[in-house]
């Protein structure tokens, strides 16, 4: 599910981010193919009309997000400390409880969809 290291679009993904900004004003920020590609990365199937609606809405929203370019680089130092606890066995969910919400189980295991 976390294929976010993949580029959303090979052609655009390899260009520096700034190159996209200048183009944003005269062409939509995202087209239908790009919406389909991101949806595939996110494992969400979309209907065709949903793709069209999203492409238009994403254009508006991403245009608005572009104002983040004006934000100065900021020192992000914040005091953070690790929170640890002793590594001791504690009671947790029983196997039955853990499986209680699964659509399909077998011999105490979750059953997933076929792999290929």
């Amino acid at each position: 599910m976390s294929d976010t290291s993949e580029s959303t679009d090979d052609a655009e993904g390899n260009e520096p981010a700034d190159a996209d900004v200048s183009a944003a004003s005269d062409s939509p920020a995202v087209d239908a193919d790009e919406v389909r590609h991101v949806a595939e990365l996110a494992r969400v199937r979309l209907a065709d009309d949903e793709v069209e609606t999203f492409a238009a809405q994403f254009g508006d929203i991403l245009d608005y997000f572009d104002a983040l370019d004006e934000v100065p680089e900021t020192d992000r130092e914040e005091e953070l400390v690790n929170v640890m606890r002793p590594d001791e066995v504690e009671s947790g969910l029983s196997q039955e409880e853990a499986l209680s919400n699964a659509e399909e189980t077998e011999d105490g295991y979750f059953v997933g969809p076929k792999v290929s």
């Binding site: 919406v35 900021t74 979750f110």
Partner: protein, 435 residues
């Protein structure tokens, strides 16, 4: 009554400890439906979890029932907390008891509506970008967003972990503060909770309810121009009158500037969507949740399950979050949003060197009419202009009724420094007394 406003997704009772004493003994409480309740379904307002029954309760629910409060139902909400109107719920919109043709705000709209309609004494909401304060403002009740780390998130179904806190909603500041007294405090099951004995300048034994004493003599109140610009004039007038009441009681006001907040909505949505795209990856129909009938392989089955289970706003945020984290866009959106977040935090820190609290309208608009903003997501996002900076800066804030404009409730937001809950509660109680 409940059916009139659709405040509850599930009406069910979890009895409180009958022997408990204290302000919450015998109180009734509505719990937002993204907060786990053992044996009572917890849907998050989504088809995906329509039949999900948690095997354990959230820490906050145990603390409330231990204190004698009885849960009366699971409150309606925008799907997974994603919305400002409670209209993205898969279980239908909640209506605003102040005007049933209008939305109650969101995403904790059912929680605020239940309290406003008298269907519960108290409610729990969760606030990721304003989701407790917005519905409190729109429904004319009190809502508190605690400092990040004050209240345990164990058992809260995650949407954007770095931003969200569970907070109480009630008819009065004192009642909301009493509920906060019960739910606040460290929890070994949530490593981000803070033990207040470790926080400098904070009294770990303080009672929040006792702070609702209305004494604001000598309190300095910062008025950030940026959070008034662009707000509806009727809202501004009502809020300014409430701030005038604080001055009458001895508070001093001073104009301040928070230039970073112009970027708060952008930064908030990029960060929240990015975290959502990761958090909601868990809903694949295997361990819990609905699963689509699919003949396809693993990936096709997941994609079909998520197509069926998620509504449009949730899909939008997962996709935009995935986009903002993807190669080529990560630096442009996500990294810049983190810079903006640090800038907002710094701005507030600087402001609190000079003032005790910061006051503004909670929402820059009056409650929307039902259906008004649903097809225009960006318009809905922009309504969060005054609430999102607080989440980005991890600060405590309260929304308290400031009065009405055109017969509709208007909320005043009071923000304090980290773990400054007592101060915002004290200031809010003075606004309430003046009404």
């Amino acid at each position: 009554m409940a059916a009139d406003y659709n405040a509850f997704i599930t009406e069910a009772t979890i009895e409180g400890d009958a022997d408990a004493e204290g302000p919450l003994a015998d109180a009734t409480v509505a719990v937002k439906d993204n907060i786990s309740t053992e044996g009572v379904r917890t849907t998050c307002g989504s088809e995906m979890l329509a039949d999900y029954v948690p095997p354990y309760s959230a820490t906050v629910v145990d603390r409330l029932t231990d204190a004698g409060a009885t849960v009366v139902g699971k409150a309606n909400m925008d799907e997974f907390g994603m919305g400002t109107t409670t209209e993205t719920s898969a279980f239908g919109p909640t209506r605003n008891p102040a005007d049933p043709e209008r939305v109650p705000g969101g995403s904790s709209g059912g929680s605020a509506a239940a309290v406003a309609a008298g269907e519960a004494d108290l409610a729990l909401g969760s606030d990721t970008g304003g989701s407790v304060r917005c519905p409190a403002a729109f429904c004319g009740v009190v809502g508190i967003k605690p400092t990040y780390g004050l209240v345990s998130r164990y058992g809260l179904v995650a949407y954007a972990n770095s931003l969200e806190q569970i907070g109480p909603i009630a008819n009065t500041v004192e009642e909301a503060a009493a509920a906060l007294d019960v739910i606040a405090g460290p929890d070994p099951n949530d490593g981000t909770t803070r033990d207040l004995t470790d926080v400098e300048g904070v009294d770990p034994d303080a009672s929040y309810a006792a702070a609702a004493d209305g004494d604001v003599d000598g309190l300095t109140v910062g008025i950030p121009t940026e959070l008034f610009e662009g707000a509806d004039e009727r809202v501004v007038e009502t809020v300014e009158a409430a701030i005038g009441d604080l001055e009458d009681r001895g508070a001093e006001t001073t104009e301040i500037s928070l230039p970073s907040v112009e970027h708060a909505v952008q930064a908030y949505y990029v960060i929240a969507m990015a975290e959502a795209s990761s958090n909601l990856a868990r809903f694949d129909g295997v361990r819990y949740g609905a699963r689509a009938e699919s003949d396809g392989n693993w990936n096709e089955s997941f994609a079909e399950t998520r197509e069926e289970g998620f509504g449009a706003e949730v899909k939008r945020r997962i996709l935009l979050g995935t986009y903002a984290l993807s190669a080529g866009y990560h630096d442009k959106y996500y990294e810049k949003a983190q810079d903006a977040r640090a800038w907002v935090r710094q701005d507030f820190e600087d402001a609190f060197a000079d003032v005790d609290v910061i006051a503004s309208p909670t929402m820059p608009v009056l409650p929307f009419e039902l259906g008004e903003s649903l097809d225009d997501p960006l318009r809905m996002y922009l309504a969060d202009a005054n609430t999102t900076p607080v989440n980005l800066a991890n600060l405590p804030a309260i929304s308290v009724p400031a009065g009405e404009a055109d017969g509709l409730p208007v909320g005043l937001q009071i923000v304090g420094p980290k773990f400054g809950e007592e101060t915002v509660i004290r200031a809010a109680s003075a606004v309430e007394d003046a009404e």
